[in-house]
Each structure stands twice: as C-alpha cells, then as structure tokens.
Amino acid sequence: MAELLRTHPLEARHPLMAWTAAFARLPATVGITAEPFVAMVDVRLGTVGAEASAALGVDLPTTPNTWVPAGTGRAVWLGPDEWLLTSTSESPEELEARVRAAVLPLGGSATDVSAQRIGLRLTGARVRDVLATGCSIDLHPRVFGRGRSAQTILGQAGIVLLGLSDAGEDFVVLVRSSFAGYLADWLLDAALEFTPTTS
C-alpha cells in the first residue's frame, strides 16, 4: 500500500501507458502508437459562414465525413452542427475558452472533451487490413484518403477515424478513453497476423 499511497507530481498519465511496450514490438507495417494528449473541444453551431470562420480562425468543414487542418490541430466534421476542434498549442481550458467565446455569440456552444477520447496513430502498409477486420467503412485510398473522417464502429467500440494519407497507410483513431484498453488489445490481436512469430 505504501507505493500506492506515494504522492506524485501532477503529471499527466496516458491510459495506454501499459501498452507502450506491446506497441513498440509491432513491425512497421502495422505501426500503432498512442497519440500524445491534445486539447479537444466539441463545437456545436447551427450555421457556419464567414462570421464563424473569422471568429474561429478556421473554415469548419461542411462536407460530412471530412476533416481539415486548423491551426496546430484539426477541425473534424462530426455532424451537421457538430465538430471536433483540436489544438496542440493550447491547454484544454484555453481552447474551450477561446472557442466558446467565438461561437457563443453565434448561438453555438463549446465543450472541453480533451480527455473524453484518446488518439491512436496507425501507420504502415497493412494497417488498412488491420482496420478492415472490424471496420465496415470502405478504406480504399481512393475513397478514404487524407482529409476523410468517419464516426463509426471498430470492433465493438465507437470511434472517430481520420485519414491522414492518400496512400491509405496513415490513420488516427479516436476512441472513448474508457474503451482505450479494449481497443488497444483488439488492435494488437488484429495485428498478430502481420507480426512475425518467433517459432
């Protein structure tokens, strides 16, 4: 119990820390890494236009299932009046405050969801095959290239999937934090086929 009671500095601790070693053992064709924590805000806004763009500093994408770069982060379409804005240069509180101030006059709302989901980066020539074992979205590079996104199901977890490359070899999976362990196990299990065995 002594170790359990030891006082720690307030250092952020990633929920997938215990998976780091397992991820590191994967071959490059099915690379999985936990994304560092970033600030994320769920933005709700009825109508987007010049005003919103000016206030937010980004044109929120209005094409369903797409994302665009936004400052140091991304703006991801989640629904006809809902986006996920991320930032790697602001704290969660700063991002929420800034976005909230921008959208409140336009009838919008903003909620800090930085810890609601964690990100997993999937890179390599076979990650598409790994995803296809549990994701019904068509991930062909012609269909799901850079800038595409989808809220969908992977295995039995709801995810937001972002396409980062036109070659179909680079994806980000955002998953609810409480499902992160499940999804990490699930991905490792799916990657087993592409992992050289020692025997």
Partner: protein
C-alpha cells in the same frame, strides 16, 4: 444486413443505426387535457403496417442525427430517407 443511407453520412451498415419506430407521432401539445385513452394511445400505440412505413431512425454510431425513412416492412427496403427539417414525407 442493410446499407442504410444516413441523410448526412451516406450509406452505412445497419449496425450503426438505432430504430425509433413510427414517425410523425408528436408529443401532445397539452397532455393534461387528454383522456386516459388518448394518452395511452400516445404512449403505447403505434402503427404496425405490413408494407410502407414512415419511421424514425438514428445514426447512433455516426453523426447521431435522427432522420425519417420510408421503408417497406415486408421487404425491409428503404424507399427514401429525409432529414427532420425536410418537408414531411408522405407514405
């Protein structure tokens, strides 16, 4: 195992959706003035046709939007989907 066309996200697998039953059953403007029978009909009674049916669906694993569909309950085929802010679909 249908592909259901979310009015926003496009065709997605059936598993991403949840069903909301008959469409066009609004919450009564003033429940207090309804008879027990009228209230019971709002709470418990829904149409159950064999054939075309106007229904509510939710893209629950996707954009979480509710929408309306005209679907044939005998063939399961979706004839039309529309957003809630579209003009009321007619069966």
């Amino acid at each position: 195992m249908q592909l259901i066309a979310c009015p926003w996200c496009g065709p997605r697998e059936e598993v991403e959706f949840s069903y909301g039953g008959q469409a066009g059953v609004p919450y009564p403007a003033d429940p207090a003035v309804l008879s027990d029978e009228q209230w019971a009909h709002y709470v418990f009674f829904r149409d159950n046709p064999k054939g075309r049916f106007a229904e509510r669906w939710n893209h629950s694993a996707g954009c979480r939007r509710w929408f309306t569909a005209i679907r044939d309950t005998a063939t399961y085929r979706f004839e039309r989907v529309s957003r809630l802010d579209d003009p009321k679909p007619v069966t």
